[in-house]
Amino acid sequence: MSDLTTQLKQQIIEALNLEDLTPADIADDAPLFGDGLGLDSIDALELIVLLERQYGIRLTDPAEGKKIFASVATMADYIKANRTK
């Protein structure tokens, strides 16, 4: 597990108030949306805030988030390729 992945999981837990989870509870490739963690469209927007504040990545269309937020792994890949901080 890379440092970025672990850090990202911790940031997701904090941003979405998933207080009963630890990074170990979230598998890298498990779907974030759908049945998995019970997340909804507001959580997707929170993840957009997270990308902007933590990694300097700005998404302007919420539809872009669908692919990026498929799993922690896809999110980490996107961050590696696009981060400005």
Binding site: E19, D20, G38, E52
Partner: protein, 741 residues
């Protein structure tokens, strides 16, 4: 038996296309939209378009000649313009309002003012020189200022259900007239743009940079707007007796909760379908009777699909002609229900069906909305929808005036109303009896409510986003109702709503600027977040509304519930009072009003019902609930002497400015009557009188009082208690409870 229809005898409106209904109708005819780039709101979000009232607050305030304080609040100034126009059209001079009630809907309230100095206030925990301005943040403060600029109404109240607030204000006015509690009510709403909610909607990523295009396949979001509209509503008998001209009839109204999500509408349109169905039933109309639907039509994909699904469920595959007028006005949120009520009345009176401006590629080609404004149409019935956050959905139906009295199938005898169960979370404890033996608290302190344990009541997934007030509201409510035995109405009172989240969102605004901010905070910052969250958690689609009017929020909510049970519309209601105080709001309160006792917060939930719980040996009946604005001493005394209660429970704090309002009541009370004080135990917050209600119920059930509540001891049995409460000596709430005979 026949009853008098509810007629509209005047209306005033100020919105982006201009002041007065003619300005709006002319805009429809000329396809002239009021949507433009931001001019008057100080915001960095200049790329989006809005429906602003095209006048600065200062200029409009000067034109209207309002006080300096009123001139600080755009919601108030816009509201005053529309209200004065409505009263003038109805020929109701300012000195004739003593028998007229005023109900206004708002959610922004004084936020456009608060957001200008909040960072300075936050830096000194509310105690700086700006403290007095925070006293104008709450929704009720705006309504009170609008009333102050107008005249002495009999009562004033505020409804805050986000984007359906004004529709619910109009529906409440109709209920009051229909049940005989009022003859004439002025109802509507006022809302100004604020940086707070503009950035809130920005955080939901649903603001459009172009003019909004509801029901168009390429729609990409909403334009926020601002404005106000008020209707003068009265029974036909009352209107004719005073020589007023009936202009239209309000024939139906419906309210339901989607109970799906705080910001998204359900794909099936369950809530909207239920509210439309309820309104049609009330109006005794068939779907085919509706000539025009003024849709909620905000311009989001989610609203389009949900509202269209609901319309199909009610009207079938061929919809009546419909349009959204938001491309003309913008989405004026809490005032939208009143602004679109004016659209409906104008359509009936002038035969103008407004276009769904900018239509080029309808989402439903087989059922497109009105493409071009139609003139010369014969319109008899118009249905108008307003949907709010949390799925607070409301529908109004306006009809061409006809002089026919309608059949009254409500039972003539009013049913009695009982307190079935209640629970309380206060500074003394969470759903415990610790309050009975608590010591009075010193003033100039701020005490939080005890936090309840929500494990077992809420899953971690349900609880993860909830702020303190939501957890408290859910814990107190779920201890007395559950999914297996749902209430038939959920009615909430809150003075400040979700204040902690509002402050956090303001803090985000100051910390990060007008960037993408945390949507969860905004989504759970409205006053109706509380009541709709209860409905979402319970899966309860019933009537759902929220009152937010200073210290009479609770009495306003209770009166609504009691009326609906008395008139046989429902058998039970969950009535809740939930307030959240923060260090900043507490600091400001103590600075501005050192007389109010210690500052607190709390939750009370009560299930009230048409049947007395047979397991209780002394069931408590709610005999009467009344709210008054600026009553004379003799009016208060007449009520008290008519009811002659065994005990009086008063909002005494031990501080002279506050207590002087109760002095003559105590002086003239029967010598053996118990005088009880709840605030030394509950502390002060807007909905604190609900804690008096809770305690009074317990005292009546026991037939005796707790020593810590006694201000002056009484003699004799305790079978009735009158709770009296005032807000700055202006609004008064009176609740008479008695042991069932």
């Amino acid at each position: 038996m026949l009853k008098s229809p509810i007629v509209i005898t005047g209306y005033g409106i100020l919105s982006a296309p201009g002041r007065g209904a003619d300005a709006l109708t002319e805009a429809f005819k000329a396809n002239r939209s009021g949507i433009e780039p931001v001019r008057f709101l100080d915001t960095a979000l200049t790329h989006i378009k809005v429906g602003e009232v095209k006048q600065s607050t200062a200029s409009l305030a000067a034109e209207l000649g309002v006080s300096d304080q009123s001139a600080r609040l755009r919601t108030v100034v816009i509201g005053v313009a529309a209200l004065h126009d409505a009263l003038e059209m109805a020929s109701l001079p300012a000195d004739s309002l003593r028998d007229v009630d005023f109900i206004s809907g708002t959610t922004v309230g004084g936020m456009d003012n608060t957001e200008k100095f909040f960072n300075r206030l936050a830096a000194c925990e509310g105690k700086g020189s700006d403290a007095d301005q925070l006293a104008y943040n709450d929704c009720g403060a705006s309504t009170r200022l609008i009333a102050t600029e107008t005249g002495d109404f009999r009562s004033i109240s505020t409804i805050s259900t986000a984007c359906s607030s004004a529709a619910n204000a109009i529906a409440l006015a109709a209920e009051m007239i229909e049940s005989g509690r009022a003859e004439c009510v002025v109802a509507g709403g006022s809302e100004s743009l604020s940086k707070f909610h503009l950035n809130g909607f920005n955080s939901l990523m649903i603001l459009s940079a172009d003019r909004c295009r509801p029901f168009n396949a390429d729609r990409d979001g909403i334009n926020l707007g601002e404005g106000a509209a008020y209707l003068v509503m009265e029974s036909l008998d009352h209107a004719l007796a005073r020589g007023a001209t009936p202009l239209a009839t309000l024939s139906g109204w419906g309210n339901a909760c989607d109970a799906y999500h705080q910001t998204a509408s359900s794909p099936s349109g369950e809530g909207p379908a239920r509210s439309m169905k309820a309104a049609l039933k009330r109006a005794r109309l068939q779907p085919s009777d509706i000539n025009y639907i003024n849709a909620h039509g905000t311009g989001t994909e989610n609203n389009d699909s949900s509202e269209l699904a609901a319309m199909r469920a009610i009207f079938g595959s061929k919809l009546p002609c419909y349009s959204s007028t938001k491309p003309f006005t913008g989405h004026t949120t809490s005032s939208a229900g009143a602004i679109e009520a004016v659209v409906a009345i104008e359509a009936i009176r002038k035969g103008v069906i407004p276009a769904n401006l900018g239509l080029n590629n309808p989402v439903e080609p087989e059922n497109p909305p009105v493409e071009r404004t139609v003139e010369g149409a014969t319109i008899n019935h118009v249905l108008t929808n307003s949907f709010g956050f949390g799925g607070n959905d409301s529908t109004l139906i306006f009809s061409r005036f006809s002089n026919n009295h309608v059949a009254d199938d409500s039972s003539a005898a009013r049913r009695r109303v009982f307190v079935d169960r209640a629970s309380m979370i206060s500074c003394c404890g969470a759903m415990t009896d610790d309050w009975l033996s608590a010591s009075p608290q010193p003033s100039a302190e701020y005490k939080r409510a005890v936090e309840p344990d929500v494990k077992g009541l809420l899953s971690p997934g349900e609880a993860r986003r909830m702020s303190r007030i939501l957890k408290r509201a859910l814990a107190s409510s779920l201890s007395i109702v559950n999914k297996e035995s749902l209430p038939e109405a959920i009615i909430t009172a809150t003075g400040l709503g979700c204040m902690e989240n509002s402050e956090k969102f303001l803090n985000e605004l100051y910390t990060y600027g007008e960037e993408m901010l945390k949507p969860t905070l905004f989504m759970q910052s409205t006053h109706n977040t509380i009541g709709s969250q209860i409905a979402i958690t319970l899966g309860c689609h019933c009537y759902n509304t929220t009152y937010s009017h200073k210290s009479i929020s609770w009495e306003s909510a209770l009166a609504d519930a009691v009326n609906q049970i008395q008139t046989g519309q429902i058998n039970s209601a969950l009535v809740g009072a939930h307030d959240e105080t923060t260090p900043i709001t507490a600091g400001a309160s103590m600075t501005v009003n050192p007389d109010s006792g210690f500052i607190s917060e709390g939750s009370v939930a009560a299930l009230i019902s048409a049947t007395a719980d047979s397991s209780q040996c002394r069931p408590v009946e709610i005999v009467e609930v009344t709210t008054l604005y600026k009553p004379s001493a003799s009016e208060l005394h007449n009520i008290i002497s008519r009811w002659s209660p065994d005990g009086l429970m008063l909002g005494l704090t031990g501080h002279s400015d506050n207590d002087s309002h109760y002095k003559s009541i105590i002086d003239q009370s029967a010598s053996g009557a118990y005088i009880l004080a709840w605030k030394p135990m509950s502390g002060s917050h807007f909905a604190a009188s609900a804690q008096a209600f809770y305690a009074a119920c317990k005292f009546l059930q026991a037939g005796s009082v707790a020593e810590n509540y006694v201000w002056r001891n009484g003699t004799g049995p305790l079978n009735s208690i009158l709770i009296i409460n005032h807000a700055d000596g202006l609004e008064w709430g009176l609740t008479l409870l008695a042991v069932k005979e």
